[in-house]
Each structure stands twice: as structure tokens, then as C-alpha cells.
């Protein structure tokens, strides 16, 4: 099936070359980071995780969101999702690939990454995160590739793939729960020490992931003959609306607990994010942008007229996507480190090489996605 990705229009190849160019610049900057050290980034002793881990955390959510298609389609036989489910599974493959790469570029000693397997340490949440991420990647590659292959031959998928599909449902929940546990189990990081961290992660994931998927389905519809269907898009938009409403609700719970209790440790990171602390206001404009976009997107999605209008819908989805990206990326990761354990503020801004490496990883993800979607669309067009 992969050969379908080797034939394409001129536009397709220009797109591939464009991605390769961004990847090349990213790789160049990664080699600089490899020789100089992570000091090439904006990270420091106080803010020891930054843009890379922020992207990782956000993308785990995007990956997990495939389950929002798998549950209705495979568990409830909601046939409307029949055509789009493969796009969700391949999006998960691309997202997990990026997650793994973001962890990799964040390592100080990447050549020793196999130590995690050579010295398995079950008391470390990171060990489990590795297992669930690799497992989820494998599940989605196998499930997506097998069902697509069956579709090409116009036969039902083999029986052995069904249990894997059912397994992928709790597995999707697990990847985001375990990722939340990376943060939620640490003493002394008040922004992260919250029992609803995993719940928040899942709700924001089920908002951001399907939002991105709808946007991708719309792009696919434009550049190919493959249409996921208006009804599928509308059903997904409702899922985004519900998930985003729950996500915003969960966030407001955090705000209440922190500010009504008045406990300084809980208040300070949120104060830094939304109002600034000790004269440092680096993230304030971003956080308020996220607030405005979250409520705007939510309003446009809840109001039926705007949700059903496919000229407005993309804006609502972009708003939700960007809002969750800011909140769960930089807001969550950097906010967790500020103030530091000495209640001092050390600001963090990503550097140019850091941004280039990030873009490079995203470009690899988009390249994987492009190739997988090209194959999927090729099969769909052939069968149709």
C-alpha cells in the first residue's frame, strides 16, 4: 500500500519537499544542540522542562483522541464514522511519533536512551509512559494498516484485529493518564499536584484532538476526492463542544480551589500565569489569549447555527485547538516550575534553535501524517 505515497501531483511533492526542508533545518539545529548541550535552549536549573516537553504533553492528548472515533464506530456501530476513523488512527500514529521525538530531543544524553530498557524501573512513571506510548503506537499502526488493507481488498478486516481495537480503547485512556501522572505525583509542584490532572488531560485531549481531526478532514476534502462526510464532521464537532465545556469546567475548579483556599503555594503559579509575579509577566498575554479563544470557540460550538455553518466551524476549532495548546503546553509545563522551590521567579523563553528543533519534529509528524493519509486516501479513492 505504501507505494500509493510515491505517486502524487506536483503540489504533493512540493509539500513533501517543503516539509523536508523544515526537517533539515531542525536536524541541523539538533546537531548543534547535540554538541553544545541543552544550554542552547532557554531552559535553566529552575525551569528544567520547556517547549519540548510542553509539545510532548499536548500531543499525547491528540494521540489519545482517536478513541473518540473508535468508541462510537467499533463499540456502538456508529457507521457515520466509518470513513473518518482511519484518519483518527493515523493521526494517532503521527502524534505518538512526535511525542517520542520530543522526549528524545529533550534528553541530555540521547545516546543512553536504551538505559530505560536496560535498567527497567517500575517505580518511575516515565518507565510506564514509555511502555504505554510504544504500545499505543504499535496498536494504531497495526489496526490502521490492517483495516485499510482489508478495505483495499474489499473484504472485512481479519478477526484477530477486533480484540486489538477493543484494547486500544482503554490503552488510549492509559497514555494520557500515565502522562498526567508524570506531573501529578510530584511533591512541591503545586500547579501539578492535583487529583483531577488526568481528568483534565483527557477532557482537553478530547477537545483538541477531534478539533484537529475535523480540520484535517476538511483539508483532505479540499485536496482530494475523499470526503469524510458532513454528518461525521458535525458529530465530531459536538464531541469537541462537550469535551471543551468539561475542560473549561475542570480548569475553573482548579481556580476555585487555589484562590478560595488562599493557600499561597496553590495561588502563586496561577498568579504568575494570569497576572504575573515579582514583575515577571512573560506568559500573561498567552494565557489570556487562551482564555478568550477557549470561550469564543466554546460559544461558537455550543450555538447550533455557528456549529452547523462550515464556514464558521473551522474558526471555532482553531480557537479550541490553540487555547488547549497554550494551556496544556507552555502554561502547564512552565507554570509548574514558576515559582521555583525557593519561591523565586526565573522566567523562560524558548530560543530560536529550540523553536527550529520543535518545528522540525512537527514537520516529521506532518510528513508521517501526509504519507499515511496519502495511502489511506489512495485506497479510499480506489475502492470508491
Amino acid at each position: 500500500m505504501l507505494e500509493k505515497a510515491t505517486v502524487g501531483s506536483k503540489k504533493y511533492w512540493i509539500w513533501i519537499l517543503f516539509l523536508l526542508a523544515i526537517i533539515a533545518v531542525g536536524v541541523f539545529n539538533y546537531l548543534r544542540q547535540f554538541t553544545y548541550g541543552l544550554g542552547i535552549t532557554g531552559m535553566s536549573r529552575d525551569v528544567s522542562w520547556g517547549f519540548y516537553i510542553a509539545q510532548f504533553t499536548f500531543l499525547v492528548g491528540v494521540a489519545a483522541s482517536a478513541v473518540m472515533l473508535v468508541i462510537p464506530y467499533y463499540l456502538h456501530h456508529y457507521k457515520t464514522f466509518g470513513r473518518i476513523v482511519i484518519l483518527g488512527e493515523f493521526l494517532a500514529v503521527s502524534a505518538v511519533t512526535m511525542c517520542i521525538l520530543f522526549i528524545f530531543v529533550d534528553l541530555g544524553q540521547p545516546m543512553r536512551v536504551m538505559n530505560v530498557i536496560l535498567h527497567p524501573t517500575p517505580n518511575s512513571v516515565m518507565f510506564w509512559d514509555m511502555i504505554v506510548l510504544l504500545g499505543y503506537l504499535t496498536l494504531n499502526i497495526v489496526i490502521g494498516w490492517t483495516t485499510l488493507g482489508a478495505e483495499r481488498k474489499e473484504v472485512p478486516p481479519p478477526a484477530w484485529v477486533k480484540p486489538l481495537i477493543y484494547l486500544s480503547v482503554p490503552w488510549a485512556v492509559s497514555i494520557h493518564t500515565v502522562t498526567a501522572f508524570l506531573y501529578a505525583g510530584l511533591p512541591g509542584r503545586h500547579l501539578w499536584l492535583t487529583a483531577i490532572m488526568a481528568a483534565r488531560f483527557l477532557s482537553s485531549a478530547f477537545a483538541a484532538g477531534p478539533a484537529l481531526l475535523i480540520l484535517l478532514a476538511m483539508i483532505v476534502r479540499k485536496v482530494s476526492k475523499f470526503d469524510a462526510g458532513r454528518e461525521a464532521i458535525q458529530s465530531l464537532a459536538k464531541i469537541v463542544a462537550y469535551a471543551m465545556a468539561i475542560n473549561v469546567f475542570f480548569f475553573l475548579l482548579e481556580i476555585f480551589t487555589a484562590f478560595y483556599s488562599g493557600i499561597p503555594g496553590h495561588e502563586l503559579p496561577l498568579k504568575y500565569l494570569f497576572f504575573g509575579l515579582d514583575g515577571h509577566t512573560e506568559l500573561v498575554p498567552f494565557m489570556w489569549t487562551a482564555v478568550v479563544l477557549a470561550f469564543l470557540g466554546l460559544a461558537l460550538l455550543i450555538y447550533p447555527e455557528t456549529r452547523k455553518n462550515e464556514n464558521v466551524l473551522p474558526y471555532a476549532l482553531v480557537a479550541v485547538f490553540v487555547a488547549t495548546w497554550i494551556d496544556k503546553g507552555m502554561g502547564l509545563v512552565v507554570g509548574g516550575f514558576i515559582p521555583n522551590p525557593f519561591e523565586r521567579v526565573t522566567p523562560y523563553t524558548p530560543t530560536l534553535p529550540e523553536l527550529s528543533i520543535t518545528l522540525g519534529v512537527y514537520a516529521i509528524g506532518v510528513l508521517v501524517l501526509t504519507v499515511l493519509y496519502k495511502v489511506a486516501i489512495g485506497v479510499k479513492e480506489q475502492v470508491a
Binding site: 548541550g37 544550554g39 522526549i103 541530555g108 522551590p341
Partner: protein, 269 residues
């Protein structure tokens, strides 16, 4: 007591035959008047300092000026090749000072005596009994030594994920953001210098303890830092802690730090 190699082997061999192991041999020698010199004679090396759980008491009455602290800090930096970076973003530190509100956040109050508020306090790895850094490390590169409770770092195994830095509530850990070697004032060939991309921190001078020496900072502290076995009721640290009011950093987190602070000092307690 004088004991030569032959005698040692005799005692050790005999007790092994009896099935009671080398411990008896050591005990026999300990029974002698000068145990240190005995073991030194046998092994040609000094007796390692041992404890069930090492701990430290910081007696703040002994630290009168910034120089008193600086002596300890310099001794540590020198002993462990701790680099001094011009840019704070690259900072690596094992032992340092800060004011009361930043050393004990949450414990400060506005009405504290100015002297206490403005005084500097010494900070270092707490060698927690229940260390979160060890719990999160995915490779066991950082681990709590069973023999004496020291939280150690294996810089050859560390993958540089910095999970431990996120987990440590005391900000005790540093990362080598760039090559430290050009920024080491005077390299100590007896201690390894680190490369890029690994985490490091205070190890209670494990390399000195094994040579029978107390930690470098303790040696230069003029009695301000008392080092000893927290599990031994007769140790100096336990005697001091039994008689004086002490506090620890962030005790509410349950990590059980092994570094105790006597804010008023021994005399004033």
C-alpha cells in the same frame, strides 16, 4: 593494639571456620584500644566512615558572616569540580545560601527578628529518607544507598531526562546545560568532571567518607556543620537534636530530609 597481616588472617580464617564470618574478626580488632590504626595497618588505608543513615545539623550560630559560608562552598566546589558559569541560566551548584523566606518558604512570618530574616542559610541536598527524585528516575541513575541512606548519582547512567529535577522539592539538583570543564576554576584530578547532559548534586562527599574523611563543607565549617549517624542515639547529631529545637525544609511533603537547622544555634536554643 598492634596486629599484623598474619594475625588478621588467622582471626578472620578461624572465625570463618566457626561459621561466624569476618564480622567477628573485625569485632575482635575493634575490641582493641586503637581500632583505626589497626585497620589502617591491615589495609594500608584509613577506615571508611560509616553510618546507618548519614545526616547533618546546620548550627546557624556558628555562621557569622558570608565568608564563613563561602569557605564551605569553596571547599565543595573545589573538591567536586563544580563549575562557575558567568550566565545564571547554566548554573550548577551543590551547596549555596539563601535568605529565610526562600530557604523555608511557608515558614516565614513578617514579624520575625530582622536578624533571622536577613541572615543567610546554607542549602544542599537533603538526602531525604523518602526521596522523590529516586522514585521518579527511570534508570536508577539516582538511588538511595542502602548502607547509609545517601542519595547518590550515577552520572554514567543518567540519560538527562531531568525528571528528578522536577521531582525534587528542594531545588537541590543541577543539570549540565553545557560543557562544564572550561568553567572549573582549578580542576581536582581526584574527582571526575562531568560532561554535558547529566544531572548532578551533593553526595555528602561519599568519596571522602570512604577514605575516612568527613564531607569537605563540614571540615571547613568551624563546627557549624555537624555530620553524623541519625540512627545512632549516641551520635553527636542525635545528642544535639535531642537537646535543641531544630527545623527542616518543607517537612509537610513527607520526604524526611536528613538536614536539620538550628536557627538559634546550640547556645541560644
Amino acid at each position: 593494639m598492634s596486629i599484623n597481616r598474619r594475625q588478621f588472617i588467622k582471626i578472620a580464617g578461624f572465625s570463618t571456620i566457626l561459621g561466624i564470618g569476618g564480622i567477628t574478626a573485625i569485632d575482635k580488632m575493634k575490641a582493641g584500644a586503637d581500632e583505626t590504626s589497626a585497620v589502617q595497618q591491615i589495609f594500608g588505608t584509613p577506615t571508611p566512615l560509616t553510618a546507618k543513615r548519614w545526616g547533618m545539623v546546620v548550627d546557624l550560630s556558628k555562621f557569622k558572616s558570608a565568608e564563613d559560608y563561602q569557605k564551605c562552598i569553596d571547599a565543595c566546589d573545589q573538591a567536586h569540580n563544580v563549575p562557575l558559569f558567568p550566565n545564571k541560566k547554566d548554573e550548577v551548584k551543590w551547596i549555596w545560601t539563601d535568605t529565610f523566606e526562600h530557604t523555608f518558604p511557608g515558614a516565614e512570618n513578617e514579624l520575625l527578628p530582622e536578624a533571622i530574616k536577613e541572615k543567610n542559610y546554607l542549602l544542599l541536598c537533603n538526602h531525604c529518607q523518602n526521596p522523590p527524585c529516586v522514585r521518579v528516575c527511570p534508570t536508577k541513575a539516582t538511588f538511595k544507598r542502602k548502607s547509609d541512606g545517601i542519595v547518590m548519582m550515577d552520572q554514567h547512567r543518567c540519560i538527562g531526562c531531568r525528571f528528578c529535577m522536577a521531582a525534587c522539592p528542594f531545588g537541590a539538583r543541577s543539570f549540565n546545560w553545557r560543557d562544564p570543564k572550561p568553567f572549573i576554576k582549578q580542576e581536582n584530578p581526584e574527582y571526575p568532571a562531568r560532561g554535558i547532559g547529566v544531572v548532578e548534586k551533593c553526595t555528602f562527599c561519599a568519596e571522602r567518607l570512604v577514605r575516612g574523611l568527613k564531607p569537605a563543607c563540614v571540615e571547613k565549617s568551624n563546627g557549624g556543620l555537624i555530620f553524623g549517624d541519625l540512627e545512632d542515639p549516641n551520635s553527636e547529631v542525635r545528642q544535639i537534636l535531642a537537646k535543641n529545637y531544630s527545623i527542616r525544609r518543607k517537612p509537610e511533603l513527607g520526604t524526611q530530609p536528613s538536614v536539620y537547622y538550628l536557627i538559634g544555634g546550640i547556645e541560644n536554643a
